[in-house]
């Protein structure tokens, strides 16, 4: 699957499009995020709270749809595009 990062997340990673693979028959967004953080550990304290939850102000999208309700438990597949970004600030 492919991650897309925006704003300060992309700056911190030094990259805005990152392919990851997860060795699991039923992968979740959480598995994909772990794979991302394995390559870009500098994102970890930006993405997780002290309790290990996804920062509540971050948006998580799967193929352009917001999946913040199911969050890291959202099932994902190999050809998905996942996106992580802070609150939007257009206009």
């Amino acid at each position: 699957m492919r991650w897309k990062l925006f704003a300060d997340l992309a700056e911190r990673a030094g990259d805005d499009e990152i392919n990851v693979s997860v060795d699991d028959s039923e992968p979740t967004a959480g598995d994909a995020l772990d794979a991302l953080l394995a390559e870009y550990p500098q994102l970890a304290d930006r993405v997780f709270t002290a309790d290990g939850d996804l920062e509540s102000h971050l948006n998580l999208l799967r193929n352009g749809e917001n999946v913040s309700d199911t969050g890291l438990a959202t099932p994902v597949s190999d050809d998905d595009e996942l996106a992580l970004f802070p609150p939007v600030s257009g206009g």
Binding site: K4, F6, A7, L61, G64, F85, V88, S89, G90, G91
Partner: protein
Amino acid sequence: MQTLCVVGDDASAVADALATRIAETYEGRVATVDYGDAVDNVAVDEGDPTDADGRFSLTSKGQWVGRGDDRSLVDLLDSLAPDYEYAVVAGTSHHRLPTVVVGDSDPEPANVVAEAPTADAVDIAALATRVDDFEPHVTLETLIDRAEASPLAERSGAIATFTGRVRIKDSPEDDRTEHLAFEKYEGVADERMAAISDDLTDREGVFEVLMHHRVGVMGPGEDIVFVVVLAGHREEAFQTVEDGINRLKDEVPIFKKETTEADEFWLHERGG
């Protein structure tokens, strides 16, 4: 209007070749802009000196030439945008516009889409195929024209528009904003804007809702975002244009980074 700048050595020759190729390949109208210290005399014969600041010559068939002393590059492109599908600018760039660099260019443009060591090395055909993929130069006037072309235009008695622009300071003692930079989630941002427009167009008496948000770097006073509503009456026009910009700001994945005299920060980090 798809706009492409060419800077560096032989910019004019490369721009001419590109404009020719684009005109041969696509149906839309093409304009070229030659930027430099001297105005090409083909514009208008010097003629008798007058006190007029602008000088135009027009035929009954709509052919015209003009010269004046009052336009920036952005002013000129804004005035071309409603009438041309393509513009190729030789000799200068602007921080937001896609730019081809031939040889060296100082300073380096912010949005370089192609580089070549010499004019001969520029792949004109390949660039012409890509020109529709570059971010277009969209103006308020372009959107108003599109709204007025609506099949329901004859029932419309009102157009309301919103323009968001780069504010230099929010209060007198604020640091001056030097520029804003916007990035968007390509594809998803446009889908969400289209969904908002569709929603709002379902309202009684609302016929067209058009929105456009520019990306890249924008300087003080520059336009950032436009919302245009074509409606039956002013009440629904005003209400819808307000709801349109509010929803765009809440829902569309676009991110703003501000550079002031003293600082640089992402807007979400300041809660604004």
